[in-house]
């Protein structure tokens, strides 16, 4: 584990998202409630839409381009669609967001 500070929790709106640029591509940080955050690949498994621009509901994200829905917990596409996006460990400590950047390396390897 290599927890890296990527910014303050308050910078991500509730039911909103921000991206982090990494060597493994753009990672979307989702905030589903006061204190709950998730990190996934920002690229939709369908046609590469930017997931950070979708609507966050419950613990899911709907892609803005063609309405594919993914679980932020498992990365699995929901409903009839089949596909998956990568998920990454992220946590909140003292109102700061920490991303495990080792997990990014594993994902690209």
């Amino acid at each position: 584990m290599n927890w890296t500070d990527i910014g303050e929790l308050a910078a991500v709106p509730i039911r909103g998202s921000r991206i982090v640029k990494t060597q493994a591509g753009c990672i979307a940080i989702f905030r589903t409630s006061e204190t709950e955050v998730f990190a996934t690949s920002n690229t939709c498994a369908h046609k590469g839409g930017p997931l950070n621009e979708g609507i966050v509901h419950d613990k899911k994200i709907t892609c803005p381009l063609h309405n594919w829905v993914f679980s932020l917990e498992t990365g699995e596409a929901q409903g009839a669609d089949e596909g998956r996006i990568a998920t990454y460990p992220v946590k909140v400590e003292n109102d700061r967001l920490l991303l495990d950047i080792d997990a990014l390396a594993t994902a690209t390897a």
Binding site: Q23, S33, I55, H57, D58, K59, D102
Partner: protein, 811 residues
């Protein structure tokens, strides 16, 4: 005998003393310092003292006799100046005392937000009896008012207490809902409701800018300019551990005095307990873990092995009549599932959070009777797989008796005076009366009451009142609900938002018995639109409930770039504007396309560049063309009498006037207008949502055209003689559509549903038109602003990545 000195006579050290002296009367020679001029009292019961439901005497835990009986030397009202660890001495204001073991129990102090004026007399933290008495004194003055900053547990208890003493009370809370650490939005909404019913004003998302007063508090000023008069300002925005004594003694201090699981500080002879300690990065503010610490500390001092462990906590609010419970984690972590139950009629909300077949969190409002049972399941980690289906109904249902959520709950909860049919002013009570008098079909009810007999959009609700009143004897026509979150149709929801005066999203979710915690991508944008259209002043537009284009004020393209379209009023532009557009296009490498709406589209703009290009276009005097909204798009025009040989009126000028009137308004779907200067119709007005054809005698207004998936010609609404009348009819028509249309119904679909005849009847009444125009103007006073300029100055950072780790070494 060993000498034990304790600094601070609060609830944690008081409990420690009880344990020690109960176990052994003469283990220690004890000296107890307290800065307050009294011994230990039950601090968490100060709220009932404030409200007048208890007296101070009733909440004293340890009186003088108690200390005397245990040979505890008390030094109350005396501050400790410092601790000399080398010589093992505690220096009090009135002299020193030596120790073998020392306990620091200095507690915490209220956090005073350092806004200008925070040091004025009348600004009070809420901590001890002095604070409480100061508030009681303030409340005794005639027509006194208080502002409470911080809508957490303590602040709300204080607010309720002050209100019971007759003060005007305003609670300011910086988050979007009250008690945001313990409650979710739905429970926060119900709580706010109950407090408001007691006459407490609650302002959420409120940021204090300044406390104003000449020699004492007079008013509180917010960031948005609101001013609230106040005789006292109560700060309940959190607590800060009091660590000074420990810090100056050189103990290890992080956010508070660090202790191990025996409550020992970095000095083996010094211990700390209560709100002044930090254990495994945790701070403490609730009483339950403090009592655990006290027991561990007493055992440690008595040589009994014990260790402190963190445990699940639960919260209850001590405000009579507000039943609220929160326990465990209801947010953090992965792999969790929600079970939600809402009963709008009983004002009940329950939410359980399940992970790996175990209950890990619970939030309840309105009915907390089963809270201990749920808390037990959380603490014990009971496997709930078997009872998952009925878990939320509590222990009474665990014998297998099935139960379901009532789909008619929202209608059942409506009071009799709630208006069901807006056209004819028919309330629920009129309908139930008609049903009792024998009207058992929709047609009967229509005939008797006129409910749903005009535009018909409330038909679903009338049917539900029938179903609710007649039970199985009535079959509801299954209209399509908004989405899986509710059984109600769009029309039902719109009607109920008006009738129940629902003004926030959590209010809609709760009162209309939503089945999900916070909606879905289908209902959220719709609800957001309905709320902002019906309550422009009260409701705050929610960007997170908008599709990307409306959130980012540009159209997303298939490769994730955006298109940017500046407004060109009536399709007119100037050489200077074109130069600015061309310069911006070059700078941001845009593809340029001329649109069908008589303006210019700049394609391929990267998200990071949006605020930059907007700034360029803004500085050339252009604003957003809203080419991405469910709102006013364009008013297309021809050159009219300015240039055309055939023009009969100033169609260009009229188009520009209409666009300047209507721009910025949100509508159920996109809205396109056109004005043609003669019946040759060069601006193609007869396939627009609203089309105006100029003729010699005036203007023909027609509505409901379409040239998309469906192709339709407009139908005549009215012929008028003057531009002023065009403005009046068009504005009134747009507002009627805004107030009644189903989200994502273009004008032609909406008109087909309610009938053009109904629209004509409504608008034929001059007073109706005036009222509609007034309400439109009110909405425009909020929404007619350039979103580009707003985002450039207030939200530009949201267009940038949160962080850039591409330069980090990834191993």
């Amino acid at each position: 005998m060993q000498k034990l000195v304790i600094i601070g006579a609060g609830m944690a050290s008081g409990r420690t003393l009880e344990h020690i002296t109960d176990a052994s009367a003469d283990a220690f020679e004890i000296t107890l310092f307290n800065a307050e001029p009294r011994g230990n009292y039950n601090r968490i019961m100060l709220s009932p003292v404030l409200s007048g439901e208890r007296t101070y005497d009733e909440i004293v835990t340890h009186d003088d006799d108690w200390y005397a009986a245990r040979n505890i030397r008390t030094r109350f009202g005396e501050k400790v100046i410092w601790v000399d660890r080398k010589r093992k001495l505690v220096m009090g204001e009135n002299g020193e005392v030596s120790y073998d073991k020392l306990i620091i129990a200095t507690g915490s102090t209220p956090f005073i937000i350092p806004v200008p004026g925070h040091d004025l007399p009348g600004v009070i933290g809420y901590r001890d009896l002095e604070d409480t008495n100061a508030m009681i004194d303030a409340a005794a003055q005639a027509s006194a008012s208080a502002v409470v900053i911080g809508g957490g547990l303590l602040g709300l208890e204080a607010a309720a207490g002050l209100r019971m003493r007759g003060m005007e009370v305003t609670v300011l809370h910086n988050d979007g809902h009250l008690m945001n650490r313990q409650l979710d939005e739905a429970a926060g909404y119900l709580l706010q409701n109950d407090l408001e019913k007691r006459g407490i004003t609650v302002m959420t998302s409120a940021n204090t800018k300044q406390i104003v007063g000449d020699g004492k508090v007079e008013q509180v000023r917010l960031e948005d300019g609101t001013e609230i008069p106040a005789n006292i300002v109560l700060m309940t925005a959190g607590i800060r551990p009091s660590v000074l004594v420990g810090q100056e003694a050189g103990l290890k201090v992080g956010r508070a005095i660090e202790v191990d699981d025996q409550m020992r500080t970095s000095d083996p002879d010094i211990f700390a307990v209560g709100e002044c300690v930090e254990f495994e990065a945790n701070l403490f503010g609730l009483v339950a873990p403090l009592y655990d610490q006290a027991k561990v500390l007493a055992n440690t001092l008595l040589g009994v092995e014990d260790s402190f462990k963190l445990r699940e906590l639960s919260t209850k609010l001590k405000v009579t009549g507000c039943d609220l419970f929160s326990a465990g984690d209801f947010a953090e972590g992965e792999g969790r599932e929600d079970i939600v139950f809402r009963d709008p009629k009983r004002r009940v909300y329950k939410r359980l959070i399940v992970e790996n077949d175990r209950l890990i969190g619970a939030v309840m409002y309105g009915d907390t009777a089963d809270s201990n049972w749920f808390f037990g399941l959380i603490k014990d980690g009971t496997n709930i797989e078997e009872m998952r289906e009925t878990l939320i109904f509590g222990p009474a249902y665990q014998d297998g008796s099935a139960t379901t959520v009532d789909p008619l709950a929202a209608v059942a909860a409506l009071p009799l005076e709630a208006e069901i049919c807006g056209c004819n002013g028919v309330c629920k009570g009129d309908i139930t009366q008609a049903i009792e008098a024998g009207a058992h079909t929709l047609d009967d009810v229509r005939a008797k009451t006129k409910a749903s007999a005009s535009c018909g959009t409330c038909t679903g609700l009338v049917e539900q009142v029938l179903a609710f009143s007649l039970g199985d004897g009535f079959q509801v026509t299954a209209e399509k609900p908004v989405c899986k979150c509710t059984d109600l149709t769009h029309e039902d929801v719109r009607r109920l938002i008006k009738a129940r005066e629902l003004k926030t999203q959590p209010a809609v979710w709760q009162e209309l018995a939503w089945k999900t915690p916070n909606g879905c991508p289908s209902c959220r944008p719709a609800i957001n639109y309905y709320l902002l259209a019906d309550w422009p002043l009260e409701y705050q537009d929610d960007l997170q409930s908008r599709f990307v284009n409306e959130r980012n004020h540009a159209n997303i393209q298939k490769n994730g770039t955006y298109s940017v379209v500046p407004r060109m009023w009536g399709g007119m532009t100037t050489a200077d504007e074109l130069i600015a557009i061309a310069t911006a296009a070059k700078r941001f490498d845009a593809t340029i396309k001329v649109t069908g709406g008589q303006r210019i589209d700049l394609l391929g703009i990267k998200k990071d560049d949006l605020p930059l290009i907007w700034k360029d276009l803004n500085s050339a005097g252009m604003v957003s063309g809203h080419a991405y909204t469910k709102g006013l798009r364009t008013v297309k025009t021809c050159v009219g009498t300015d240039w055309c040989r055939f023009g009969t009126q100033d169609s260009t000028g009229l188009g520009i006037k209409l666009e300047k009137k209507l721009w910025g308004s949100w509508t159920p779907h996109k809205l396109k207008l056109a004005v043609s200067g003669c019946p040759r119709n060069c601006s193609e007005a007869t396939c627009k949502d609203i089309g105006i054809i100029c003729v010699d005698s005036g203007y023909q207004i027609s509505v409901g055209g379409a040239a998309g998936m469906d192709l339709r010609q407009t139908e005549a609404l009215v012929d008028v003689a003057t531009e002023g009348e065009v403005d009046e009819w068009v504005t009134a028509f747009v507002q009627l559509y805004r107030e009644n249309g189903k989200y994502l119904d273009r004008v032609y679909k909406w008109v087909a549903k309610v009938g053009l005849e109904w629209v004509k009847e409504e608008l034929a009444n001059p007073q109706t038109r005036i009222d509609l125009i007034d309400r439109f103007a009110l909405s425009q006073s909020v929404y007619q602003t350039d979103p580009w300029a707003d985002h450039v100055s207030n939200r530009a950072n949201q267009y940038e990545p949160l962080a850039d780790l591409t330069m980090e070494a990834v191993t």
